[in-house]
Amino acid sequence: MQEVEPTCFEQAAKNPKWDNAMDEEMAALDANATWELVVLLKDKKTIGCKWVYKVKHNADGSVSIYKTRLVAKGYAQTYGIEYEETYSLITKMTTVRLIIAMAATKGWSLHQMDVKNVFLHGDLQDEMYMEQPPGYVDQTHLNLVYRLKKVLYNLK
């Protein structure tokens, strides 16, 4: 019942479902001006990136989507140079329960939404360079790197 999730690009590329998902992710990133191709200056460093794959299930256990994300290898960043403060929006489980309980006692309706590609909404403050993603290297510009303009997953 559980489908195997690929751990690297080479495995995923064989499956058209993952291939499509990656194309979509790349299109979304391009469309949102996440980056631009530039020549890397001598004293600058790049960070790597990789694809991660996840089969998402519905509440009944059926497959809902094949999800891929391009993530930066954020662990290569140095505190104080490439990043300073880190912050992320997380709700405590108790808060979620509180709100649901409140809605239940007051008879309010509860709705749900989600944001497609959250990271596209954060502008990047620091100067960051990233290698071109596996499988999506511009063959005419092999030596160029991406200068990131927007935040990517796993960037600090």
Partner: protein
């Protein structure tokens, strides 16, 4: 949380997942419309599934359950066909930090206990047993792993 002319609207944000509620549907509708204009959003309608928790809304109240989460975890840990047990911990058993053989795959132990901790959100009956096994996360031993497996069997009871 925002007070409006009509009443109140509340938004809960978990990275990219949102719960929206409030005492009047006009404001909820307006807020959704605004969010859709500003961001690329997907409207999932009534709250049904959030962070692995199923929500069933009825006029009598709400049900929160992690049935599917539990089933997924049981299959992930190879416990799908296990014999259910109605008590989460063996009675009168003392678990010690330094008795028994060491568990080889300590990551797996930690992962299972982590899942069990998350299941406490809707299964408060698990909290004592999970509290006991979570004390041995540092150096899990065979008897501790047995206890963890027993809790999984207890979870499968009544699923």
């Amino acid at each position: 949380m925002k007070k409006t002319d009509h009443g109140i609207v509340v938004i809960v944000i978990y990275v990219d997942d949102l719960i929206i509620t409030g005492d009047n549907d006009v404001d909820i509708f307006d807020l959704k419309k605004l969010l859709k204009q500003k961001f690329e959003m997907k409207d999932l309608g009534e709250l049904r599934y959030f962070l692995g928790i199923e929500v069933i809304q009825s006029p009598k109240g709400m049900w929160l359950l992690q049935r599917q989460y539990a089933l997924n975890k049981l299959s992930e840990y190879g416990m799908t066909g296990c014999k259910p047990i109605s008590i989460p911990l063996e009675q009168n058993v003392k678990l010690n930090a330094d008795e028994g053989d060491l568990v080889e795959d300590t990551t797996m132990y930690k992962r299972i206990v982590g899942s069990l901790i998350y299941m406490i959100v809707t299964r408060l009956d698990l909290s004592y047993a999970v509290g006991v096994v979570s004390q041995f996360m540092q150096t899990p031993r065979k008897p501790h792993l047995d206890a963890v497996r027993r809790i999984l069997k207890y979870v499968s009871h009544g699923l």
